[in-house]
C-alpha cells in the first residue's frame, strides 16, 4: 500500500515537528475558545445549527433547479457563467478569459477551489503570474507551501518564521518580526500588484440563486480589492455553494463567522451582484463565475454522502480535531485537511488515492459536535471505511474496494465467525483466559508505548454463572 506508506511518513514527519506540538496546538485551543465564546447560549446555538443544516440540505435537495436559477439570474445581472466538469475545464476557462484580456498577471483572493484546481501552477505554465493577496496565502506562496488550514492557511507558521521568510525574499526591506510591520510590508508590495493586474480572482462563500448574488466573506479587504479594482473579476466555486434565497444568508453567515473565528461578523462581507453599471464609479467591467463540479455530482448521488456537500468551510471541525491538532494540515496530503477533508477529498480523488484519511480518526465525534450544518462526519468516515473495503462492487464511490486486503478481510471473517457462535466464543475465551500467562507481552505497535492488557482469570460469562445470575 504505497499511499499508506506515504501517509505514515508525512505523519511521522509532522509528529516530529516541535512547531506543531506547541504553537499550532495552542492556536487551535485559541480558535476553540473563540468559537465557544461566540455561542454563549447552547440552546440558541442548537436552533441556529439546525437552521443552518436545514438551509443547506434544502439547497442541495434542489441543486439542479437552483443552479439553473442562479445561472439565469447571473446572466440578467451581467455576470457570465461558465460550467466546468473537471479541473482541466475550469483551468482552461480561466486561462481563456486571461488570454482574451491579454492579461499576464492574476491577483487572487483566498479561494480553496483555486487550490483544488492548482490554478497557480497551471497558469504559470502558461506564462501567467499569480499573486495571492490574502496575507496567509501570500506567505505560503513565498514559502512555496500549500495551505494547512482552510480559514487560516498559514497557521502552522510562527511569526519568526514569517519574518525570516520576508527577509529572505525581500532583502531590501529591513527585518522585522512585528506583526503590524510585516502586514504593512506585505500590503505595500501587494498594493502595486492590485493596480497592475487586469484580472482579479476570488472564491465564493455563498451563491444566491434567487438574486444571482455572489457572497464573499473575508477579513483583510483584499477580497474586495480583487473583486473591484481589476477590470475583470473571475469568481471560482464548487457547484454545491448555491443557496436558494437571500434570507438564507444571515443565518449561514452568522454560523460561518462564529464557528470559524468567533467573530460576530467578518470585517468585510461582499455581495457581488453585477459588473459596474453605467454611471457607477467603481467595480469591474466584467464578472465571470466558474462553477466547478470535479466529482461533486457523484457525491450528490448518494443519499448519505450528499451531506458532505453541506459544508460551509468554516474550519471548526479541524480546529476541534485531536488528530488534526497533532499532525497539522499538510500531513493529510489533500487540498482540504482535517475531518471535512477526510470525507470530502477521498470521495473526489478516489479511495485508492486518499483512502487512508477516513481511517485516521478515532471517531471521537468532536467535529460533528461543532459542525454548524450538522454534517455527521464520523458516520461518513465510517461509511467510507466500508466503501474502501467492501467487495460487492455495489457502491458508486471512486476507488471502492481498493483497501480490501486478504489478510484484513480474513481477520474480520474469523472474528465474525467466532463471535456469532456463542459456544465457540465461550470456548475461545475460556482457552485464552487459561493460557493468559503464555500469551505474548509484546503486541505490535500497541506495546510500543503501553503495557499489554491484562487478561482475566475468568470471563464475565463464567463469573455471572458462578454468582448465580440467570441466563433468561
Amino acid at each position: 500500500m504505497q499511499q499508506s506508506a506515504e501517509f505514515h511518513t508525512r505523519v511521522e514527519h509532522a509528529l516530529a515537528n516541535g512547531q506543531i506540538k506547541t504553537s499550532f496546538r495552542s492556536a487551535m485551543d485559541g480558535l476553540m475558545a473563540k468559537r465557544k465564546a461566540a455561542f454563549p447560549d447552547p440552546e440558541a446555538l442548537e436552533t441556529l445549527r439546525f437552521r443552518g443544516a436545514q438551509i443547506r440540505a434544502n439547497s442541495l435537495s434542489k441543486l439542479h433547479e437552483l443552479l439553473e436559477q442562479l445561472e439565469n439570474n447571473c446572466h440578467k445581472n451581467g455576470i457570465q457563467v461558465h460550467w466546468a466538469e473537471r479541473i482541466e475545464d475550469a483551468n482552461n476557462i480561466v486561462l481563456t478569459i486571461m488570454q482574451n484580456h491579454q492579461a499576464d498577471l492574476l491577483i487572487k483572493g483566498k479561494s480553496m477551489v483555486s487550490e483544488e484546481m492548482e490554478l497557480n501552477r497551471f497558469l504559470e505554465q502558461h506564462g501567467i503570474e499569480c499573486i495571492e493577496s490574502d496575507l496567509g496565502e501570500y506567505i505560503l506562496q513565498l514559502a512555496g507551501e500549500p495551505p494547512s488550514h482552510i480559514v487560516a492557511p498559514a497557521i502552522h507558521k510562527s511569526r519568526q518564521q514569517i519574518a525570516q521568510l520576508f527577509n529572505e525574499k525581500f532583502p531590501d526591506i529591513p527585518y522585522s518580526d512585528d506583526v503590524d510591520r510585516l502586514t504593512r510590508n506585505a500590503r505595500e508590495i501587494l498594493r502595486k500588484k492590485f493596480y497592475a493586474a487586469r484580472v482579479g480572482l476570488s472564491g465564493v462563500n455563498f451563491a444566491v440563486a434567487e438574486t444571482g448574488t455572489l457572497c464573499l466573506v473575508e477579513n483583510e479587504g483584499n477580497g474586495r480589492m480583487c473583486t473591484t479594482v481589476p477590470p475583470v473579476h473571475i469568481a471560482v466555486t464548487g457547484i454545491e455553494k448555491v443557496v436558494e434565497k437571500l434570507e438564507h444568508i444571515p443565518p449561514l453567515l452568522k454560523l460561518l463567522c462564529r464557528s470559524a473565528t468567533g467573530q460576530a461578523i467578518t470585517t468585510y462581507f461582499n455581495m457581488i451582484t453585477s459588473p459596474r453599471k453605467q454611471g457607477e464609479k467603481d467595480g469591474p467591467e466584467e464578472i465571470h463565475l466558474v462553477l466547478l463540479d470535479n466529482g461533486r455530482s457523484r457525491i450528490y448521488e448518494d443519499d448519505e454522502l450528499i451531506t458532505t456537500l453541506r459544508c460551509i468551510r468554516c474550519g471548526a471541525c479541524m480546529n476541534h480535531c485531536p488528530v488534526y491538532a497533532r499532525i497539522g494540515g499538510h500531513a493529510y496530503g489533500s487540498t482540504i485537511p482535517g475531518p471535512i477533508g477526510s470525507i470530502l477529498e477521498p470521495q473526489k480523488a478516489g479511495l485508492d488515492k486518499l483512502g487512508d484519511l477516513p481511517s485516521a480518526s478515532t471517531l471521537c465525534g468532536a467535529c460533528a459536535e461543532v459542525c454548524p450544518v450538522h454534517i455527521p462526519i464520523p458516520k461518513l468516515l465510517n461509511r467510507l471505511r466500508f466503501e474502501r473495503t467492501r467487495n460487492d462492487h455495489a457502491g458508486a464511490t471512486l476507488g471502492q474496494s481498493s483497501g480490501r486486503t486478504v489478510m484484513e478481510a480474513g481477520i474480520w471473517k474469523g472474528w465474525s465467525w467466532v463471535h456469532s457462535q456463542p459456544r465457540l466464543y465461550r470456548l475461545a475465551m475460556y482457552i485464552i483466559t487459561r493460557l493468559r500467562k503464555l500469551l505474548p507481552q509484546r503486541i505490535g505497535p500497541w506495546t510500543q508505548v503501553r503495557k499489554a492488557p491484562h487478561i482475566a482469570q475468568k470471563t464475565l460469562h463464567e463469573l455471572a454463572l458462578k454468582e448465580g445470575f440467570n441466563d433468561k
Partner: protein, 255 residues
Amino acid sequence: MTEEKRYPEKPEKVYYFGTCLIDLLYPEAGLAGMQLIQREGIEVVFPQDQTCCGQPAWNSGYRVEAIRVAQHQLDCFNEDYPIVVPSGSCAGMMRHHYPEMFKGSTDELRANTLAGRVFELTEFLEHVLKITLEDLGSPVKVALHTSCAARREMGVATEHEALLKQLSNVELLQQSRKEECCGFGGTFAVKHPAISAEMVSEKANAITATGADTLISGDCGCLMNIAGHLEYQEKQIDSRHIASFIWERTHATER
C-alpha cells in the same frame, strides 16, 4: 444526537450486556455493574449467548461481518427488559448504530426496539434506579476520563460525575483538555499507532498532573489505553472502571 431522553420506571428485571472487552479483560467491572443493579432489588439477567456488539468490525468497514455478530445479540435480548451496558461505546453502538445497521432488513424492527431499550450503566443507575450511594471508603483523589461515545453519543458525562460526587470521600480532580479523546479509537490505535501514542501520552500526562490516586473511566477501551500507557511509564496510579470503583466503595463487606 441530542434527542430528548426518556427513562422508564424502575423495572423488575433487566438484561445486562457485558461487552467483549469486559468479558476478557475487566470481568470484575462487569460483575460490579450487575451487583450494583441487583443491590437495588432488581433481577439481572445475563444471557450466556451474548458475545460482542459488533462495533470493532463495523468501525473498520467490515459491515457484513459486523451485522452477522450484531444479529446474534438481537437474539439474546428478546424480552422487553431494559438492556444495561457498562460502556458508553458499546451502548452507543447498540442504541444509535443498530437502527442504521439493520435498516431495510428483516431485523429492522427488532433492532429498533432493542436500540430503544439500551441504557449505559451510569445513566441507568442515576435516572432509572435513582441510586443513592454511601461511601464506605477512605479519602481518595480521582480523575475521570469520560469516553467520547459516553460524552457525545450517549450524553452521559454528567451522570458519570454525578455518581462520583455522591461518594463523600472521593475528590474529583479535573485534568486539562478533559473532553479530548484519549487516542484509542479501536483499530485506529493499530492503524495509526504514532498518532495514537501521541494522544495517549498527552492524556496520561494531563491525568498524572492532577495528582490523582486513581483514574476512573466508564469505558474499558479508554482504560486499557490510558492505564496501559501509565503502566508502561511506571506511574503509580491505579485505574478502575467506574462500576468497580463504586461497588468497591459502597459494598459493606468489601472494606
